[in-house]
């Protein structure tokens, strides 16, 4: 696994958040998370328009080994979901911070990002696990 992208924020349940130029956010699971889970074989993303509360289970990533819930780090509305993962779940393994993104949200409030970890804090968090 490589370096953690510096422009992302991270949650304790191993999701990442990228703030886009238009104020929306993109959410996925971290490279550490996909490595722990192993080869992905099925991904279920939330429906567009769904209103999510912070830390609500909203997606499922299933590896050969097990199914795992994905929790949204932020409250907000789903404006787009990565439907391509239905046919290529392995994108989560191969490119967790890029093609393996899960959903885009319109956050309910702007301050919520402050509760998430920066790359150094997340690195320390997974090192301590």
């Amino acid at each position: 696994m490589g370096e953690l992208p510096g422009d992302l924020k991270y949650s304790k349940s191993h999701e990442w958040v990228r703030v886009n130029d238009d104020g929306t956010v993109t959410v996925g699971i971290t490279d550490h998370a996909q490595d722990q889970l192993g080869d992905m074989v099925y991904v279920e993303v939330p429906e567009r328009g769904r209103e999510l509360e912070a830390e609500e289970a909203c997606a499922v990533v299933e590896s050969v080994k097990a199914a795992s819930d994905v929790y949204t780090p932020l409250a907000g509305t789903v404006i787009e979901a990565n439907e391509a993962l239905a046919d290529s779940p392995e994108a989560v393994n191969q490119d967790a911070y890029g093609a393996g993104w899960l959903m885009k949200l319109k956050p309910a409030s702007s301050g919520a990002l402050n509760d998430l970890m920066d790359p150094d804090a997340y690195q320390a968090f997974i090192d301590a696990e």
């Binding site: 192993g38 080869d39 074989v41 279920e44 499922v60 299933e62 050969v64 080994k65 199914a67 239905a86």
Partner: protein, 364 residues
């Protein structure tokens, strides 16, 4: 720290992800479980299965003892080296373990039993061996490497010592041959051809490295599970245990009913169960909808009767989720499975799903 096989450091050096497996630190994969799965179906892969328990039974009365101990009949073993798959039952007909027994000669049979059931197996076998004067001798110093896949035999033969090569090359399916302290058997748990090789632990690393140099890829126990599931082979503790009989576990074919007076442990209970008619049957499932079948998911048959998935996963060969399941005896050609709160459609099929490199189930 768990138990470690002689190959532990080799696995680490080869990049294995190690997990606890019945008290042993074993490789789950070396990078990609799915790639390793395909390697075994298409070429040759090797598994460290040294955690499995090898037990030798020594004594003149070993055959009569095994006739009593096992639900399958060791009298099917008349040629030296021949192997037999069997369940070992309790008096209620429940499965204590499943195992392979090799006939080496009349006063020496070798069992390979599961590591997760080692202690209770040894207790049970030892207790019942006493009246027969049979010695129960574990062989913990033996390592065991399974090499499986369409090219497995050729690649193994290329690295075997010359004196062992011809006897190994001549092995028929389900036979083994002994050479010095090595035992080479044409058996496996993947649905592919290949060998399972027991050898002194001190020689395991050199042999493993020689196989790697011959083009055999290291594979973790993760793909061993998806391979055996595709091959329709049961996993002890998931597909059957002491609470169920072989008759509702897809293992009725391993029970030798004749001669009726053999008197094996569990025979009376099995006979009653058979006469009463089984309430469940053991089937394969292919998921028609998207998702993944998992152990213990609930099955709902057309008449609303319920069953359970005993082992489910994703089949890399079919690109679909598959499962083994215990369902009501009246279940037809389809059923529904409760998967994470939703009812998904599954087709009922007869395993295996894949063997010898090919899908055995037609997909629509």
């Amino acid at each position: 720290m768990g138990n470690r096989t002689p190959l532990f450091e080799t696995h680490k050096a080869m990049g294995a992800k190690l997990v606890d497996f019945a008290g042993w630190d074993m490789p789950i994969h070396y990078g990609s479980q799915i790639e390793e799965h395909h390697t075994v179906r298409r070429d040759a892969g090797m598994f460290d299965v040294s955690h499995m328990t090898v037990v030798d039974l020594i004594g003149a009365q070993t055959r009569p003892f095994l006739r009593h101990l096992l639900a399958n009949n060791v009298d099917k073993l008349q040629d030296e080296g021949k192997a037999l798959y069997s369940c070992m039952l309790n008096e209620q007909g429940g499965v204590i373990d499943d195992l392979i027994v090799y006939f080496l000669h009349e006063s020496w049979f070798r069992l390979v039993v599961n590591s997760g059931t080692r202690a209770k197996d040894i207790d049970w076998i030892t207790t019942h061996a006493k009246p027969f004067g049979v010695d129960v001798v574990e062989q913990p110093e033996l390592a065991m490497i399974a090499v499986q896949g369409p090219n497995a035999r050729d690649k193994v033969l290329s690295v075997l010592d010359a004196p062992a090569r011809q006897p190994a090359a001549d092995l028929k399916l389900f036979f083994g041959t002994e050479h010095d302290d090595w035992f080479i058997a044409r058996t496996g748990y993947t649905g592919e051809d290949g060998f399972e090789i027991m050898l002194p632990g001190s020689e395991a690393v050199a042999f493993w490295n020689a196989l790697k140099d011959a083009g055999v890829e290291p594979c973790g126990l993760g793909c061993r599970d998806t391979l055996r599931l595709e091959a329709g082979m049961n996993l002890y503790g998931a597909d059957m245990d002491e609470s169920v009989s072989p008759l509702v576990s897809g293992l009725g074919w391993t029970v030798a009913w004749e001669p009726a007076d053999r008197g094996f442990i569990g025979q009376a209970a099995l006979t009653s169960e058979r006469e009463a008619g089984a309430k469940h049957k053991f089937v394969g499932l292919v998921l028609e909808d998207k998702g993944v079948l998992r152990n213990h998911q609930k099955i709902i048959a057309d008449d609303a009767a319920e069953g359970e998935i005993t082992s489910g996963s994703f089949s890399p060969t079919l690109g679909r989720s598959i499962a083994l399941a215990r369902v009501p005896a009246g279940t037809g050609t389809s059923c529904r499975v409760e998967v994470r709160g939703k009812l998904l459609a599954a087709r009922v099929v007869k395993p295996p799903f894949a063997r010898n490199g090919k899908a055995q189930i037609e997909l629509d």
